[in-house]
């Protein structure tokens, strides 16, 4: 972070070659260089950016371990710019996770395993992936951050937990296929995501970085629409087209403090009451005989 609390972020709204990790890694190098050239200190790639999304049985074949050369190469690339990349992580016990990795200063700083795996409609995530079991924030040079992958943000509790951890910024890598045509100028999916992301930003008074894919996989289109949203809910930068693009935004991290002074929603949040009520609900649910 520069002295004045300003940060330049870049969202790499990219396509992916399905199941071709090497080709995608090469493309990542190019986009990271472009992000560097734009002055960005952080570049975010979409969900499963290194492999593509509708992998099916390719999940096992494209997976890498945390100790793999691929992860080392990504670490190397982060020496002078922070990087968020999506890939399939294979654990030593051979469970496969849809994960987003945060690299900084040549190190892996954090790893989020997708918790909410959509398995309905066009999605089949739990057939192939193991389920993540935690939402944790982490420290970056630009304040505290948390990552949520695509479907994670369709569950209000995910972002809520991160917010109570005190994040300044939620990063959401996504591979959202576009659907829902009507007379509107945008797809139904695009409308929903804008509502979600802006709501989180404004009501959790945090920056929200949404990076979605573009391209097509087996006929499904990814609609892009990546956006940087400020802690007052305003969209600071957005790519409206479904083309490959680097969305660059210069943000003032001091906005978090100023917006929380103006709207002290987090200060007034009743965590203990919430936990008690949740416990009660859980108790009442489990108490039911059938």
């Amino acid at each position: 972070m520069s002295q004045d609390g300003r940060l330049t972020v870049a969202l790499a709204q990219v396509d992916a070659a399905l199941g071709d990790r090497d080709k995608n890694l090469e493309r990542h190098r190019g986009w990271i260089q472009r992000a560097r050239n734009s002055g960005a200190q952080l570049v975010v790639f979409p969900e499963l950016s290194l492999t593509g999304y509708f992998l099916k049985d390719l999940v096992a074949e494209t997976a890498v371990s945390i100790e793999s050369p691929t992860v080392k190469q990504l670490s190397e690339l982060s020496r002078d710019i922070d990087i968020v990349v999506g890939l399939v992580i294979e654990e030593p016990d051979h469970r496969y996770f849809n994960a987003s990795l945060y690299f900084s200063a040549g190190e892996l700083v954090h790893l989020h395993r997708k918790v909410y795996l959509p398995t309905y409609g066009m999605f089949d995530d739990t057939r192939y992936f193991a389920t993540g079991n935690r939402f944790r924030s982490f420290k970056t040079s630009f304040g505290r951050a948390g990552m949520l992958i695509c479907e994670d943000i369709w569950h209000l509790s995910s972002a809520y937990v991160l917010s109570l951890e005190g994040v300044d910024m939620i990063i959401c890598p996504s591979a959202s296929p576009g659907r829902g045509i009507s007379t509107d100028e945008r797809l139904g999916t695009a409308e929903s995501y804008e509502i979600l992301c802006r709501t989180y930003a404004q009501f959790l008074t945090s920056f929200f970085l949404y990076c979605n894919r573009v391209g097509y996989e087996d006929g499904a289109n990814f609609w892009g629409g990546s956006m940087v949203i400020g802690p007052n809910g305003d969209i600071i930068a957005r790519e409206t087209d479904a083309d490959e693009a680097l969305v660059v935004a210069r943000v003032d991290l001091g906005d978090v403090r100023r917006d929380r002074l103006a709207n002290p929603l987090l200060r007034d949040e009743k965590l203990e009451l919430t936990v008690n009520e949740l416990r009660r609900v859980l108790h009442e649910r489990t108490r039911k005989p059938f």
Binding site: A17, G19, K56, S182, T183
Partner: protein, 284 residues
Amino acid sequence: MSAPASLSEPVFPPLAINAELVKGILVGFIRNEVRKVGFERVILNLSGGVDSSLVAVLATEALGAQNVMALILPYKTSDPKSRTDALQMVAQLGLHHLEVDITPQIDAYFARFPEANQVRRGNKMARERMTIAYDQSLAWRALVIGTSNKTELLLGYGTIYGDTASAINPVGDLYKTQVWQLADAVGVPTAIVQKAPSADLWAGQSDETELGFQYRKVDQFLYYLVDRRYSVEELKRLGFEPAFIEDIIRRVRDNQYKRRLPLIAKLSSRTIDREFRYPRDWGH
């Protein structure tokens, strides 16, 4: 036969589309799915009807007219207007085209089976056109692009391994009434959009007469049945007649086989398409 209502009547609101948005997605689909598997060109059977005319426009926008080949494959009983409409699209878009009169090959075959009915003859023509498209696709290094819409695919109103065969299909998730809207918006001549839909096995044939209902009506029904998953009781409450409901549900169910690959007898623990599941865009 009722007058075609493609443009004259208001669209059923849930099936109204933003043509610009849909066109963008479909043009991108063609460009992406063709190029990433190493092709530049597509080839299609251009019947002179609204579906194939729309696909011709989308393909031209995606790849350029120089990369689109239109096949015009009439039979002796085809409506001559179909050919002239197809040629009009070819001229309007500046496409490559190839005409092959399929009469000799159809007649040579059925000379041995003179008792064959219209369904057999119609299926044979559809498959003959398919073999020509696939042969020319190899000669011209092009992918065969399909033109079957969602209504036809759901009702099974097409010939398996005939007109439903293709490498990619940009309009298979658009109902007929949506095809009309999009075709009109992207510049398919009004006369083509408005003419009565026909398989054109003989002059004067009409889809709607043959099916026994109008596309507008069945599209509304399919929207509720397929997209919104209304129950039979709920469909009745919407005012659809029980006989119509039963007929359409039966058609959708009985034609499921046309929408799937052939059944494979399961023996091993990793059977193709059952446990052996890879995306078609594998590696692209």
